[in-house]
Amino acid sequence: MHIPDGFLSTPVWAALDAVSIPAIGLLANRARAEIDEARIPLLGVMGAFVFAAQMINFPVGLGTSGHLVGGALLACLLGPGAAALVMTAILAIQALVFQDGGILALGANLMNMAVAGVIAGYLPYHWLGKTRYRRAGIFAGAFLSLLVSASLALTELLLSGVRMPGPVLGVSAGLFVVSALLEGAITVSVVSAIERLHPSWIGNPVPLRSTAFVLLGVGAVLLGGIGFVFASQSPDGLQSLAERVGIAGQANAIVAGPLADYQMHGLASPVLRRAAAGLAGVLGIWIACLALGRMISRRRAA
């Protein structure tokens, strides 16, 4: 589920851009030092493979068919760090070339699929991959990966004030579970087929060298969640949620930064203020990425 532009409210997309774009940048800068140069073409080709794989239909009965989404498969094949980078490239190409997913919403889609989706897809495999429940681990990973991505996307839409009555939510939750089960079945059967072809391609899970990555992911998800609550002051879905949870009062008290209410004072029209704040947000994100990159490369050089 790729969220297009125009669906998320400014606080939501800005908060998610601010969290996930630097997180991916940090990961890329880390990986650059660790990754074997020979693997770079492989990573690109694997991304193209996931695209092409969507052309092969899996029959599900009743005349319908589904296809591989691929987040968990990439995580099992390449490891979580590399899989997140490949997913980033896939999402970038989908947003740019296929208009599937927005540009301002890229941070949200990265969070849902490249960060949370990959981590959810990898962890069960990581824990169960060496036991006799290996296949169950792969299945659970693919199932969770899709479910986590889809429910995050739904949450973000709800927080942006896209109204969804209870029954609609129920139906979409049901559809998510069905497609997650299908993704699990496809991933397990593709992994077994690949293992029959060439056993060494799918190695056992390596010990997580980068616990930092897991921490980063968990932290990013938490930050993203907190980001929603603190950033949005508009009376939309977010507000009512915050009121229901009872933290609205505290949030209002805490947020008093220059971008509070996503408005900049000193500009006349309220709409203009919101736009200027949005632009400042984008600039801020860009500068943060730049600074983070500089800092990391400098530390590596030293």
């Binding site: 297009p4 532009d5 125009g6 400014t10 991916i24 890329a28 140069e37 020979a38 770079i40 073409p41 990573l43 690109g44 080709v45 694997m46 991304g47 193209a48 493979f49 695209f51 092409a52 794989a53 052309m55 092969i56 899996f58 029959p59 980078l85 980033t88 490239a89 896939i90 970038a92 190409i93 740019l96 070339v97 296929f98 208009q99 599937d100 927005g102 540009i103 301002l104 839409l157 004030g161 896209v162 109204r163 969804m164 009555p165 609609v168 059967s189 593709v190 690949i194 072809l197 391609w201 029209s269 709409v271 203009l272 919101r274 736009a275 949005g278 632009l279 990425c289 730049l290 990159g293």
Partner: protein
């Protein structure tokens, strides 16, 4: 196929094609921000934004109907949520979702169909997007054409062997056959990646694609960016 058409469109020539990729990227972000922050209660602002996009489309000399149709790829997704919003008693929000989604897609379509992707990636790397991500995206885009063609060939071959239509073949066996096809596609992709790397080493790959230097930003590019920003500010203040 969609990406082949876009690739061809991006190699044409027009006033919009000639603009610097960095400037077009910045202008697209401005337009996306403008569209994304337009509130449902301002239908005139939406109209003005659409006029702005149409003007850019005319300057780009792309097939107008074709471009408008291709941007419609976002509509099924928007329509579902718009319908739900509408049923939930918020018709203004529903309309805004459809209009904002469509116009944002059109803006991005205008960017990629007037800028060849390598130029766009070079512009992104000028904006300090990490090199590794740029490299992976470059490889992905190159082999996207090759691998999707290969997948189509495999699908055609399977169909001509009557795969999946055989009487008596159960769902489970057809499912396994599809998994087998995917694993073969995977094996071919893997071998291809290996071959690519050897060929690159043989040609002296140093870890960097030879990138032609970005041309300096010209006066026309600044004028274009200035024009876009002032149009955006004008629409925002007037509406």
């Amino acid at each position: 196929m969609h990406h082949v058409v876009l690739e061809r469109w991006s190699r044409r020539a027009s006033g919009l094609h000639a603009r610097d990729a960095r400037v077009k990227l910045a202008a697209t972000l401005v337009v996306l921000l403008l569209i994304g922050t337009t509130v449902p209660s301002h239908p005139l602002a939406f109209a003005a934004e659409f006029v702005l996009l149409m003007a850019a489309l005319l300057v780009s000399r792309l097939p107008i109907a074709g471009a408008l149709m291709r941007a419609g790829a976002v509509l099924p997704f928007s329509a579902i949520f718009a319908l739900v919003s509408w049923l939930a008693g918020d018709p203004a929000k529903a309309a805004a979702l459809v209009i904002r989604g469509y116009m944002s897609a059109l803006a991005v379509l205008l960017l990629v169909s007037t800028t060849p992707l390598p130029d766009l990636l070079r512009a992104l790397s000028w904006f300090h997007v990490p090199r590794l991500i740029i490299l992976i995206t470059q490889f992905l885009y190159r082999y996207l054409f090759v691998l999707s063609e290969q997948a189509q060939h495999m699908r055609l071959a399977a169909a001509s062997r009557a795969g999946g239509r055989r009487a008596g073949s159960g769902l489970a066996s057809r499912f396994r056959a599809a998994a087998g096809a995917l694993s073969v596609l995977f094996a071919r992709s893997y071998a291809r990646a290996d071959g690519i790397h050897r060929a690159m080493i043989a040609r002296g790959f140093s870890g960097e694609f030879p990138a032609s230097a970005l041309n300096p930003v010209r006066l026309m590019d600044f004028l274009f960016l200035g024009l876009t920003i002032s149009a955006a500010v004008l629409i925002r203040t007037a509406a």
